[in-house]
Symmetry: C2
Subunit: 360 residues, 2 copies
Amino acid sequence: MAEKVKKISALKEKEGISQPETLNREVVKQLQSSKKKELSIDELVSGILDQNQATLSRAITIIESTAQKHQQQAKSIIDNCLPHANRSIRIGITGVPGVGKSTFIESFGKLLISEGKKVAVLTVDPSSSISKGSILGDKTRMEKLVKEKNAFIRPSASGDTLGGVARKTRETIILCEAAGFDVILIETVGVGQSETAVHSMTDFFLLLKLAGAGDELQGIKRGIMEMADSIVINKADGENLKAAKIAKNEFNRALHLYPAKESGWAPKTILCSALKNEGIAEIWEVVSDYFETVKSNGYFQHKRKEQNKFWLMQTIESRLKSEFYANPLVKVELEKQLLALDKNKTTPFEAAEKLLSMKN
Amino acid sequence: MAEKVKKISALKEKEGISQPETLNREVVKQLQSSKKKELSIDELVSGILDQNQATLSRAITIIESTAQKHQQQAKSIIDNCLPHANRSIRIGITGVPGVGKSTFIESFGKLLISEGKKVAVLTVDPSSSISKGSILGDKTRMEKLVKEKNAFIRPSASGDTLGGVARKTRETIILCEAAGFDVILIETVGVGQSETAVHSMTDFFLLLKLAGAGDELQGIKRGIMEMADSIVINKADGENLKAAKIAKNEFNRALHLYPAKESGWAPKTILCSALKNEGIAEIWEVVSDYFETVKSNGYFQHKRKEQNKFWLMQTIESRLKSEFYANPLVKVELEKQLLALDKNKTTPFEAAEKLLSMKN
């Protein structure tokens, strides 16, 4: 049909050179045959424990799936991985687009690998579903790191809600830890609410900044600085170096104004040039210092426990709400109460009581 | 007993002049007799509608009470006042301690009264229960305003939660409106979460600042500036005037960096000296401009509807949570699940599911 319509179009192109096929039939065949070979839970789990990255990827895909049958599988995989998890250090990395997060993670990741670490890189980017924006959550941004056999890069889980994305990321962390990764880097873009979520699932929170631009210009929210365990001023090279040194002093002054952290750790500002690979070793030293401090003073375990509680409460709250509003009686009454509210015939508190009485 | 101990104290004062009684027996008698005369709902409501401030005060006390019998009375009073409410303009005023909120409210309130308005001043200060701090939420701070017959000043409702305090304040607004107050000023201290609550119950949000001090030094959160419909730089007199003018330009520049407001209103920075009564008339002009703008473009009604929805949802959420955690089965299981979490035998998400299954 489309072909026929085209033939009468005034815009018809000269025929003669046929367009290349957009599908590679050979690849499709391979994909289809590999799809058929579904792995059992046992095979998936032992693959993960054997540090097989392909199996790890497939297991993560199951976790990310919203299909009913996958959810039961996901639960079994996680249950089997849990005894082997929780042995990594988890580092959150945030900063606005353009600050050089990918380049930084490449340099930092390569250093860690050269020290014998296994590094997993995950991204949390719910912005595509929430604010319609997006970071380039893609392996192709980290060309060098992706070639390392001890590196595993997984782009953002997708989902309708930040809560959903966060859950999948948390579960992916467990799988990566079971697969023997020592360091989990979790990247997020420093706008919106995702950095609060990432802060709540990592041990160390690193904020990347640039010299010169004010907070408003960098689009970063003020609260983020308070979360940071370290501020890294990237692109501190060449002509930028002077401004970066000034910024370092300013940030250090600003950090002093915040109340002391429960961790007993005093956040530090560090200069680096990820592109020129300068300052990266110093950052790793600071991060190592941090982990030495919090592991010896007990804060490390304490924080992980608090994070578990936080996610437990969060999950319960969001489910209580979604179940309540899904109740057909509540749906009908909600319309009525909103109308009464609009006409000032009730107060929000009376309306809430009326709605809550529908529940039981 | 205390008397006896005192007699052997080396610090004992010379006797001879007896201390004045700390209780005025006559006043106590009056108070006791007035306590006996409990007013009926009808008497309370007609007193409010007759603009009797003593009756209004008694009704607010019933609303603030946590006693069971008062809660039913409160509901009836509010129901009867609702048809006469919603006719005022509600202005939120925030700023850190020391910025001069009381002096400002005195000057501003007196101007409004001179223009024939009736002015109610309420304070929201949950800090005493949450952060153990407190502002001086007291009539005595506004000596001049308190003498005006068209002014009504009511210190902060107390409560365990910000939600509880906010509810009582929202209900007090209804009563004040039914009592014929045209302008409701709601004061809060610009730290913590109370200004978000106040922002969610007012039409216009005014942020008081001082020149010279940075945001960190003023202890105010960055998000507050985004909420402001106007920034007023107080104490812009004498030696401060030059710095205040510079600050005005800076704030105006900063305000431009925020995205345009849904109200179609561009926030303005104004200089004033509440103490010297300078700039107060200009502020009232700006506020009046605002209400003209938002009443003609429909945002005024829209915002009140959204606020009603916000408080409806807030109330439902907090009740769903408190009921869930009060469930004895949940309490027992929560302990178990937290233990399992601490031992990494479960994930927060699995634990949440287990707990949620207790509910039904």
